[in-house]
């Protein structure tokens, strides 16, 4: 959903220069340069543990950079306040919580980046929420609890939540993981709609499946560095040993080896996104 009245020459939605991320003191991402131009449909790919999810978390400010410089829409991350321009779709585990919530309520949370404190929903808010639910094709489930939806429907709910904020840049972390094929196709249909509206999309994917025809640029991560940046690749090519597939000389990491597993109660968490911030 791009704005029709964008301020003059559009700054790239994302510009990362020499980005590095360390988790618990261990360097995970090193020297990553990435510029995403307006209208790009970019797939971040790579094996498990290659750093693609960490990169996405760095791009959204969830993980601080230990070195390098990140600009969103031409503004350095430290000064960036226009978060309604960024629509983030985290991994699906975030759809449910300890208390029931309806699909509509979850999607309505996506409107918060545009709402002022203590104001009721405006008519424009309601329209955006309904439209977002409509785009992902779940209007008939609006009042249902999210916990009662299938995995694919929950994923579509999270995309609707990002859509409701009417952002210019969509960042999706593994939107198709554990989603059945028809729901993957529904997701791809939604993403196609976004692409046609001129949105910029960055998505992390292990495999592209039905989204493959939409992707016009692929970035392949390998062991925390960028191994490829260019035209879209097939799923098969990504797992080529050149890009750090399992045929490489490195033994594939089991689980998330860059996280220490033992800690005492008051140690800072290696998962803590605030850590390392001044």
């Amino acid at each position: 959903m791009s704005r029709t009245t964008d301020p003059a020459p559009a700054a790239p939605p994302v510009r990362l220069a020499h980005g590095a991320v360390a988790i618990g003191g261990r360097p995970v991402l090193r020297d990553v340069d990435l510029t995403v131009e307006p209208g790009d449909f970019l797939a971040l790919m790579g094996a498990n543990g290659s750093g693609k999810s960490t990169l996405v978390k760095a791009l959204t400010g969830l993980r601080p950079l230990s070195a390098g410089r990140l600009e969103l829409f031409g503004t350095p991350l430290e000064d960036f306040r226009d978060w309604s321009r960024v629509g983030f779709v985290p991994q699906r585990t975030g759809a449910t919580a300890g208390v029931p919530a309806s699909l509509w309520e979850v999607v309505a949370a996506g409107r918060l980046s545009r709402r002022k404190l203590l104001r009721p929903l405006s008519r424009a808010d309601r329209r955006a929420i309904d439209e977002a639910i409509d785009v992902v094709g779940l209007s008939h489930k609006k009042r249902d609890g999210v916990a009662t939806l299938s995995g694919g429907q929950q994923q579509r709910t999270l995309i609707a939540r990002a859509l409701a904020g009417e952002p210019d840049l969509f960042v999706l972390d593994e939107p198709t993981a554990g989603v059945d094929l028809p729901n993957q196709e529904a997701l791809a249909g939604t993403l196609r709609t976004l692409k046609e509206r001129g949105a910029t999309v960055v998505l992390v994917a292990h495999e592209l499946g039905p989204m493959a025809p939409l992707v016009d640029r692929a970035v392949v991560m390998r062991d925390g560095r960028k191994a490829y940046d260019g035209p879209a690749l097939t799923d098969h090519a990504v797992h080529d040993p050149v890009f750090g597939g399992h045929a490489g000389h490195h033994v594939p990491a089991v689980g998330r080896d860059h996280l220490p597993h033992v800690a005492s109660p008051l140690d800072p968490s290696p998962l803590d996104p605030q850590e390392g911030r001044r």
Binding site: L112, S113, S150, S269
Partner: protein, 344 residues
Amino acid sequence: MSSLDLLAQPFMQRALIAAVVTGLAAPVVGTYLVQRRLSLMGDGLGHVAVTGVAIGLLTGTSPTWAAVVVALLGAVLIEIIRERGNTSGDLALALLFYGGLAGGVLLTGIGGQSAARLQEYLFGSITTIGVGDLVATMALAALVVVVGIGLSPQLFAVAQDQEFARVAGLRVRAYNVLVAALAAVSVSVAMRTVGLLLVSALMIIPVATSQQVSSTFRTTLYGAMGLGVVASLCGLVVAALAPADVPVAAGPAIVMVALACFLVTWPLGAWMRRVRRLRMPFPAEGPDEHLPVEEHHDALPHDHEHGKDCGHVAVEHGDHVDYLHDGHRHAVHHDSGVTHYDEH
């Protein structure tokens, strides 16, 4: 004294007011705590507040306000530990809780106060509440309700999905501390009603009850507030009307009524969840995963047609509906004008 006379007594009226405002406020925070899967946080803050009460008794200041201050400090500390810590954060919280309880009992002893005095705060003593404490309780409860409902869109989003909330530009840490602070205030509010050791019950049980039968956050929240008021009032009245030779304490009575509500609703919730699970759509297979034709099975001939009123559960399956029939999944298939059922 007849029961009506009893209810007309000033101390009883103060108790009734305290019960209503406590029952209204405690579940508001409880809802956000349950949503963040921190059901026991109220319990922990209750333990920490014991030290506050003891400090109040020791220094001769108001135990209520001392409890508010200490519980607030505890809440901020818990939030810091939670944010900086990891999975073993619960261990650090446990240390804090026991420290709070032990410190409180120790200080009370040093101050020369009797155990009975502390017990008023540990298990509640709603009928001895004075006018000053009542006003404080009402003000704090009003604060909790206004903030908890006024900021509900933000608090909901943060409790539902922290990562998303952060990328939406919400100040997640500030809201987390706010919820913890509201919990601390609620603890102090409920202290005189149900007591510090049972505070968490009034925050959590109404939410647990309410969510048995609701599928939206909004109805869960308001339902929990309603149930909190009902439980507080019923518990207090039961305690007041109990025969003179059976001493019934109001605090535990309130908690038992709340639990009774949960026990009544739980089977209903379990049944509704079972029905929902039955109706959960079957994963649809992709077009290239269709079974080869020879593997299609016809269902046995039917004496009725599946439909809205056939009594069999209808479950979505891709673009059609399967009917659950004696452990089989029957899908309608129209073949040259003849209707039969395929096994799916």
